[in-house]
Symmetry: C2
Subunit: 157 residues, 2 copies
């Protein structure tokens, strides 16, 4: 998984703490964690295409959350950044080579792909079951002053 | 995940069907599914380092299973080929940049890493719970003639 997922998740939490009324430029979100701005911008654009953040143009432009953290799951962010493909991609090698049976003679799903798919499903179920608001709650228990620090740093001059 | 995982899983099943008494060269295992031999050899070497297959040198050399399929889990093969790292790697960006708190002030685990870790754990649990023998059983239900076809094709001339 790319580091873009970690960056996107932290940026969503930061946007929530900053507040939904303000759009924040990618460069500013990147500076807060010393991340490369162009690459974080790419992740934020992916979040915008997925409807997780809204991209606002103009001098006061930037990104803001498109909906509440309680309506964004970990799966939403992972799928937005990494794409919808499964981690294990079956390329049907059972149908390749001298041992291959006649076309059309294969069960719908290779037993190996099925087994790997069950694991992927368990992973996705867990990602779907956790919202960013659950994560925010735990983060605030760990670091009660973080939201205030973030709001202050991002406050308009 | 690399295609090496799919290739390694199929190769383990093929080695089981060929039988534990014979070592099979990587090139021959690769030819059966029209795979690039050098790359499959790399995966088989990784399986050998993990103790899943045994590498036999000499004119009758090659690879054979080091233990029964009922003692090889999907997790064993994935870890052998992909390495032990988690798919989501937390790089602790919360501790980078102007908003970072004093060193040592952080909870043991970032709430984001914890949430992503729970999903990874669900994935790994499912991979650990399935042995290659479970997969072999289902494959044979789907394709009852596959084991015999494979034994015939790999039979010594």
């Amino acid at each position: 998984m790319s580091e873009g997922v970690e960056w996107a998740l932290h940026s969503c939490l930061n946007l929530a703490w900053i507040g939904p009324e303000r759009a924040v430029p990618a460069a500013r979100l990147a500076a807060y964690h010393e991340l490369p701005a162009a690459y974080l911008n790419k992740q934020l654009q992916a979040l915008a295409r997925a409807g997780i953040v809204t991209s606002v143009s103009g001098p006061k432009g930037g990104f803001r959350l498109a909906r509440g953290l309680d309506r964004i799951t970990l799966m939403d962010v992972v799928a937005a950044v990494e794409g919808p493909d499964e981690a294990f991609r079956c390329t049907e090698i059972r149908q390749q080579g001298p041992g291959a049976g006649p076309a059309g003679s294969y069960a719908a799903e290779c037993a190996i792909a099925g087994a790997m798919g069950r694991a992927e499903l368990a992973w996705r179920r867990e990602l779907v079951s956790q919202t960013l608001d659950d994560v925010r709650e735990r983060a605030e228990l760990q670091a009660p002053t973080a939201p205030e620090r973030i709001r202050e740093w991002f406050a308009p001059a």
